[in-house]
Symmetry: D2
């Protein structure tokens, strides 16, 4: 049974798995149920597992939620069926794992990374939204798999199953890296710093979706990840009665609004793409109180680290200026970040040929260049620096709404093809 | 025993009551524990009570919290000792009551109104803040008596006790109106529309605090209440991945920030005082998502209804323009409002003489003119329109921080004097 | 011939004078033709004149135009018929004068001040605008008498003529102060510091217009002048090609726009009226250049000097913050200012009685309280400090558009009544 | 004498010509002196000239200055030595010309375009700025050759001289296109529409400067021109006295500032580079007047026409929203524009080889990709559409400050090399 037949035969099971994950989205660093399910499954398949603190370096984690939020997520995961053994093992903020399958001796170490967290998006309640039609929309209000990580993990576990099935005919070591907290690019750095890709010779990452025009196709590399920095900024002013003594207040809300507008107005850079977003702004305590606090969640991006640094420096200066303007203080903290992406072109060219010959795809363009960021860049950078090769593929799918939108969805047929494809890649390189 | 002796003798008990109220603040329309305690006490004192829907007209209520929030507040109130009989009686959104004491026949109907809700302010954890020193700071995070309504209710109940004690020597009807939801000026209209002051001949309201310079003094009228409108505005845009396809998003956060700055920049009016405040702004769902929602809590004020209308019209136009700018929609809702204040000068002049002669105050200026709003204006307007008289007094107290500030507090000695004073007023007019 | 008969008889002549002045408006410190015409006329009438530097203290002048602008204004004035003797005498920035008529011995010194400069407003070319209908609209593009100073000077000269005619029957000294640069409140301080009102016992100022409801009436005092400060702010950034290297620029235009919005958003003050205006903003040199300069003309006002200071301090802080935000510099300069207004109530009460009895006015309310500023406040402050009395009257007129609007105009009949009235005042106090 | 010897020998003369042009900069559509000097010189050299309306299509011109400005520029040009014959010929807004040299029969038509206008930049008065050191800084305040067009015309005339000298050994037609109004991309469209490149087989444009790293080098093509649109926007509000009746005003300045900030905040586009600039903002008439007018000079750019259209549509929407916000009107006008750039790669590869072999340059990279726009794109588009070939070269020079900066300058040695190079190109293709 080749990988195409394998994927087709188990199609219903994989779709059910994806829908279960979609229904129970867990945001960054809180993926207890998700990871516990994967750990159970990988154990069944005979993988060797390392879960938690050994594969997630404590000091390198960024943007952790509060301990209370973690505790609540653990409790909920267990209530929703997670194996408490794994939940305990993961503890506070270590929701990553590495699963290894030793095949026949003599081959390379082939690594595949999947990200497993969800987004802070309220899923659409439009009855026409496919997850509503089929009854698997998020049951966790405010959390949603709006970036396809549900499909990513499903494909990773499908791939694992195929590798386990074929292990006697394959050579080398297959290493599955399940990474928490890709959203906000907060998790990969900690796994890289724990050394999980230090022995990897050939490394793959893959993302589903991105562009309708890619539907049914595979792009063989994505060198366009933007370097990024995630910043939290907190303005602290002074509150007062808005009617009785407005002049005694120092308005943190207005400082934050001024900052947000001017952040968005940071000049483009002539040397390449950049991005700036204030994704969240929460300010003020009551309608008739001069607002004394405001919190902004900001991200900067650049086609190169230099461009990202330019945007970041401008952002810090603008935040400072807004505080001066309102005679208040501002505190900023870096809560995430990733370098620009690197791919090995020779590997991508091999992959392109393999994809064209696979019978799975309508087309296999060499390059896709999106404007996103991905902390998979940390793994790629390390593998390539160690002399290995790596690429980050894009699996096209006709998405009905952009990534991170409440109506985001993927075509499940593309996910099934993705499993077939990943199986093919694994057996090609585990030789 | 005159009212001064009465207040002094029971001082410790009144201070304990105020501190208990301060520790258990309940925001607008959620004052279940507060009102239940008052109802128990007034019943003990022999007052006739009407609680709930009969004295709070359902359709005239503004700015109600969600049913879930009301349910949670009822449960908490009962858990914190509220008499469940009253909680049930108040039901969903009817936390007001009128308590009547019929004295000897022949006198007038004298009404006194106290407001009982707390603010949406996080109380300071500074160890030097008096409620922290004495251990009675808010145990409800995010709610705080930062406007003195804990003292207002305490004084009202002290006054009720004094009237009950003296009822055989007094003539007429004493009517105590305990009003919910003064913050956001959402509650008085509903009690007025239920007719609770329709029979009142002489009406009093009183506020503690306002201005250190008034410490130890009484101002006999406050004609300076500003007409006010409370508005909620919700912008709805379109979300997208902030890195991958920012141009597909429609940014509600930037529309809201632009609106907030331009709202605050509405021109002053040459014909009198005005105010504008955006007290709360919450926008966006996640850092790497173009924000598709933003909610603003706004209030406008004017020295006259015309000026308030000017500010309100400008505010609506600005909100509309911000929506056009980002090609998104904006929905606005009026969630509170009150007219400008009216006081009867002849009554205030009588009060001034009484206060000067009372031995309670250092001084008794006729007028205090603050810039706040008060829905007590609805009661005053009705009483005066019916041919009655009314005034709104200000009881000075050396407050260490402005109203609505996390460090707000009152001098308890002033509250005790307030009880003495109100007793004196009651026995003067119940003749 | 009484003053009413005098005014009626010479009506056509006064209207012609006003229209000639209206047609040739001259902005602050550039009133060469205007002042020269007045000087010729007052000389004819037998007044003693002091023109230029002796009555305008050099160091106390604020907001002077450039020497080039003064030179151009002198040349134009001469070309338009000004007597070059007076133009030379006034020199660079001394366009004020004091004209004195000594009547019979023994009476008081009565001062009257008129302001003579025009506004920086482009007069409307609407054919329905009265000055267009009658052919006397401004022939100086960008300058316009949009505040009635053309009528002020005409009334002053009508008054002078009446006093000259009656001088044998009057007692005391009549002192006419013709002040330049009232717009921007830049001129009175320099004349006050030159001592021109140090000997004045009774002082009058008067303004035409203000409020349609006052049409045909006189308000006897205007205590509502706001204290004011005039500020110029200049941001200096760094220019760069907007397409080729935008990131190298430092954008002064955006700093200025951010400042302007936040200046306008300075909080109201609970203790009284305030104003803020950015009246002019000029930024940038070319469309495809990142703007490296921006200049703002700002004014703050307050009902008291304290309130004005609060607005001014906030303004300076905001300008500083905007500069920090764009990592550029800002320079600020005070180019004008005046204190809050003072009037002598006893004098106003006398004036009220006189006006009611005069037969000139429909009504004579005691007080008018507008929101403007007037550097006449400098004269009033000094006269009252010296033990004299003073008031600033408002002569109502049905203006078709607000002051400083391109369609501003006055009813000429009110100006003629104003001459009658001022004659009556002069003969009443020169006793 | 080869072109290198020719350039060296006449070096001093060419430098003097460039400095004379630099000293007398003339902005777009006002290049009377500049063009008249070139016409005299080209006539001397034996070129056939067509000047004015025949080569500049009237209806296709964009962003013309006022007739008054043109008249003033004509008068100044004549006063500064321009041949009045040419000035008259150019008339109002036709300052372009085409000069043709017919060489020996049988060769192709080779076109070279130079742009001749200056920028709206105030040249630096820093004594260290080279034009100040050598005494050739701009004598026209507010105008400056800050983009090297002085060198462009000098090189064009050097090239013309070399071609005239060699004409007996060359084959084909040499066509020199001197284009007005490149700044603001307003002139090329009108010359293209007049058909001036319709017969051109091989077309060259060239720009000096851009990047210090290119110093001493030639980049053989610049495909990176951005599509661009130039917009003027005029807000019209309603003025009022800022102190007396601010609420009656409708503030065009604040609308403009709000628009400027939000324009700059238009989202990046994921499919390629974009730009937005508000280069000029002028608002308001006087400090104490609510500003009733504001004018913005805006430009948008995009790597493709689609991206430029996206930015332009967003800009129009933002301007509309700002007008709604202040309840005023806004008028917008397109005053310039150009498509994205196209170059013929085969020609650029030939040029690269020629440059590498020429002995003139240190290096000759194939591609330079700046972020600017150039209406030379209109000529390139037409020539290529007609089956011809074209490229736009970049001649590196160590510029001390960015293009359009007050301290911009070029190295004159590079200009001399540029003449040598263009001579070499001409004799290579005129074969």
């Amino acid at each position: 049974m080749n990988s195409i037949e394998f994927a087709q035969k188990n199609k219903d099971r994989f779709i059910a798995m994806r829908r279960d994950l979609h229904k129970h989205p867990e945001p960054a660093w809180l993926e207890y149920r998700t990871a516990a399910m994967a750990a159970d499954r990988l154990t069944e398949l005979g993988f060797t597992l390392v879960v938690g603190e050994e594969v997630v370096k404590a000091d390198s984690r960024m943007g952790l939620p509060s301990r209370e939020a973690m505790k609540a997520a653990m409790d909920r995961a267990i209530a929703e069926g997670a194996n408490s053994k794994w939940v305990e093992k993961m503890g506070y903020g270590f929701t990553g794992m590495v699963a290894t399958m030793q095949c026949q001796p003599g081959g390379p170490v082939v690594g595949f990374r999947a990200d497993i967290d969800s987004n802070d998006v309220i899923e659409s309640d439009d009855p026409g939204h496919f997850p509503n039609q089929e009854g698997f929309a998020s049951c966790h209000h405010g959390a949603m798999h709006a970036c396809g990580h549900d499909a990513h993990l499903t494909m990773a576990l499908g791939l694992a199953e195929y590798v386990a099935m074929k292990k006697d005919t394959l050579k080398g070591t297959f290493k599955l890296i399940l990474q928490p907290a890709e959203e906000g690019v907060r998790g990969a750095k900690a796994m890289r710093d724990a050394g999980v890709v230090d022995d990897v010779d050939i490394f793959f990452g893959m993302h589903i979706g991105f562009d309708k025009k890619l539907s049914g196709c595979l792009a063989c590399m994505n060198p366009g990840f933007l370097a990024t920095t995630k910043l939290d900024a907190t303005f602290t002013g002074y509150s007062s009665h808005a009617g009785g003594s407005p002049e005694l207040g120092k308005n943190a809300l207005l400082a934050a609004c001024t900052a947000a507008l001017n952040l968005q107005a940071i000049s483009r850079h002539s040397q390449g793409a950049s991005r700036i977003n204030v994704g969240v702004l929460n300010a003020g305590t009551g309608r008739n109180v001069i607002p004394d606090t405001a919190v902004l969640k900001i991200e900067t991006r650049g086609e190169t680290t230099e461009i990202n640094d330019y945007i970041k420096e401008r952002a810090l200066q603008i935040l400072k200026g807004a505080a001066v303007m309102y005679d208040i203080s501002v505190a900023t903290e870096e809560v995430g970040g990733a370098p620009a992406g690197q791919n090995t072109e020779s590997l991508a060219l091999e992959i392109q040929k393999l994809a064209q010959d696979s019978g799975i795809f309508k087309d296999a363009p060499l390059v896709y260049s999106g404007g996103g960021s991905e902390d998979c860049a940390f793994f790629l950078e390390r593998v390539i620096a160690n002399g290995g090769r790596g690429t980050y593929m894009v699996l096209g799918s006709a998405i009905p709404a952009p990534h991170h939108n409440p109506k985001f969805n993927i075509e499940e047929v593309d996910m099934i093809n993705g499993i077939a494809w990943l199986g093919r890649v694994a057996e090609t390189y585990l030789k």
